[in-house]
């Protein structure tokens, strides 16, 4: 299919290790978002990219979190020195362009467990 894909689907890591989560957006979508979701809860905005503009990093919870988007397509979310409170499902979404009326298409998420 041509939907948003994320990898890995599940990641178990030890406290203190670094992890990288990958998102492949829908082809042609210029906006890409990362969210974090705790069990059965709403989504917490982390960061978004719009074309070649500087990303909006206002939702990143600490400097251990960073993200990049290469070539306006694939994005990687990196969490350094993971903590147990980082355990959550990390969701990626893309849309044709960033805007409140635009439908965001979500990937299935990466479930991160920090032991």
């Amino acid at each position: 299919g041509a939907g948003v894909s994320q990898s890995p689907s599940n990641k178990v890591t030890e406290k203190g290790k670094d992890v990288e989560l990958r998102c492949d957006p829908i082809s042609g979508h210029t906006a890409l978002y990362w969210y974090r979701q705790s069990l059965g809860q709403g989504l917490e905005f982390l960061i978004y990219f719009q074309g070649n503009s500087a990303p909006d990093k206002s939702g990143l919870p600490s400097d251990r979190f960073s993200a990049e988007r290469t070539g306006g397509s694939v994005s990687t979310l990196t969490i350094q020195r993971t903590q147990q409170e980082d355990s959550a499902v990390y969701l990626c979404a893309s849309s044709i362009f960033a805007g409140s009326y635009n439908e965001q298409f979500f990937g299935p998420g990466t479930r991160l467990t920090v032991l």
Partner: protein, 111 residues
Amino acid sequence: TQLLEQSPQFLSIQEGENLTVYCNSSSVFSSLQWYRQEPGEGPVLLVTVVTGGEVKKLKRLTFQFGDARKDSSLHITAAQPGDTGLYLCAAARGSARQLTFGSGTQLTVLP
């Protein structure tokens, strides 16, 4: 404090019953969206409302945006087991390009 408050947090009903889910805030929004999320999947957009007082219908689902654009409701008629899922409202303020999500309502429809 949650910018968007959803109620109830959990709802379990029998097939065929009607239900209403609420999304409330003290802030005014330029638009509001409702999503449904099933286990192991990302949220899927159901509807976007942008005008105060707007009502949209999607088969058995009726969505309403409050006149003051501070609240919204989702009403499901004759619920079916396939309606089971986490319902999320999400809103944007002004020209903001990011959405703020509510904490969700977990709906279970029993056969």
